[in-house]
């Protein structure tokens, strides 16, 4: 049976690669230190596969048919999509997939009552590309990308993301192989991409949310961190934290906050966390 060996979360804002040096020096340095710490944790955990939970920024699906979750099942993943490479200031990268695990996740989830869409040729925007740049730059870990909708109404509620996370945790563990798997949430913190508050971040919300993670009480977090609260802290962007809440279901106890910065130059509250105890 597959084993879950690490859980972590980080922001994926395009500014972190596309216009990195526009942020103050201390934010640049903190980002480099915290992502190096995440890489060290991955090296210590020795995963074979990274399952990255991110969100699709209206790239893979048109609005007339937006699935809640989508799994990338390719043998090899290539990014960023053409529209994004200049924006992200990134060369094309190639990362091996794990089609057997990805296809098992799709089919076993269906047997357990969860509908997941899938794509053989998933396109990648900042959601997968930025964390890959920082955490898997040489492609040594295989990748199974899972994207979610958090920006086209109806946006799923946090309780739903946690419930899906718990089901996927059991599905991954049921995979008939000896793979070691790290789960990584990407997105957040507060931001409002393209909305009236496009150039703003909500530091108070971000610190409140990270404090909830540091307290490690999942019930309290799900009670207090409502979708309405996330939307008030930046519509259509802050709800990317649903990926963090999904990964929360793979963990127990407090998260360690490795970094937080109200990185207004990158137009997103920016943070990196890791969990020591897994559920």
């Amino acid at each position: 049976m597959a084993q879950i060996v690490a859980a972590m979360a980080m922001t994926h804002s395009p500014g972190m690669t596309g216009w990195f040096t526009q942020a103050p020096k201390d934010q640049q340095e903190l980002t480099l230190r915290a992502t190096a710490a995440l890489r060290e944790r991955l090296d210590a955990a020795r995963p074979d596969v990274l399952i990255m939970f991110s969100n699709d920024h209206l790239l893979n699906w048109p609005m007339n048919n937006m699935p809640e979750y989508t799994v990338g099942i390719a043998d090899e993943h290539v990014g960023p999509a053409d529209w994004f490479d200049e924006w992200l200031a990134m060369e094309k990268y190639r990362v091996a997939g794990h089609p057997a695990l990805a296809r098992f996740i799709v089919n076993e989830s269906a047997r357990r009552g969860l509908a997941l869409s899938h794509l053989r040729d998933m396109q990648f925007d900042d959601g997968i590309s930025v964390p890959t740049h920082y955490l898997n730059p040489d492609g040594k870990f295989q990748l199974v990308p899972i994207t979610m909708n958090c920006t086209v109404p109806p946006i799923p509620k946090p309780s739903r993301a946690y419930e899906v996370g718990a089901l996927l945790r059991d599905v991954v563990r049921a995979y008939p192989g000896s793979e070691r798997v790290a789960v990584i949430a990407t997105g957040g913190l507060s931001h409002e991409p393209g909305g009236p508050r496009y150039f703003w971040v909500d530091e108070e919300f971000d610190r409140w949310f990270l404090d909830l993670l540091a307290r490690g009480d999942h019930v309290a977090l799900l009670r207090e961190c409502t979708l309405e609260r996330m939307e008030a802290a930046g519509s259509g962007g802050t709800a990317e934290l649903l990926a963090w809440i999904l990964v929360l279901a793979f963990t127990r106890g407090p998260a360690e906050i490795l970094a937080y910065m109200p990185a207004i130059a990158w137009r997103s509250g920016t943070g990196m966390v890791a969990w020591s105890a897994l559920a």
């Binding site: 216009w19 103050p24 209206l58 609005m63 920006t151 496009y198 939307e231 259509g236 130059a265």
Partner: protein, 114 residues
């Protein structure tokens, strides 16, 4: 609920933007002959004019998803200089003066002296 709730999922501009981001030829035509591309996708005159005028407020009032609005600006202004002193910022300052002024004041407070 938040600003994304205002989007019209059935709006032709939202469908057009999905295709434009995937098709370089269509992107080039969009910039050189917006009127023709707008006709092909069935945009209303109001959608066409809001795009032509690059007005974020009117675009969102019509139901364009907020995420596509800076992407429409990028088609004209390119991706260079993504800083908060960009052409996109100027358009947002005009469209949302209060929100953008608050954001810039916050930026000055957070980054002042660094």
């Amino acid at each position: 609920m938040g600003n994304v709730e205002r989007c019209d999922k059935t709006l032709p501009t939202n469908e057009m933007m999905y295709h434009i981001r995937k098709d370089a030829t269509l992107r080039a035509r969009f910039v050189s002959d917006l009127a023709a591309v707008a006709r092909e996708f069935g945009l209303s005159p109001a959608e066409y004019e809001a795009i032509r005028d690059l007005d974020p407020r009117r675009l969102m009032d019509l139901g364009v998803h907020q995420y596509y609005v800076p992407q429409i600006l990028r088609l004209y202004f390119g991706t260079a200089n993504n800083s908060n002193a960009s052409a996109a910022l100027e358009r947002y300052q005009r469209a949302f003066p209060e929100e953008t002024a608050q954001a810039l004041a916050l930026k000055a407070r957070l980054e002042g002296g660094r």
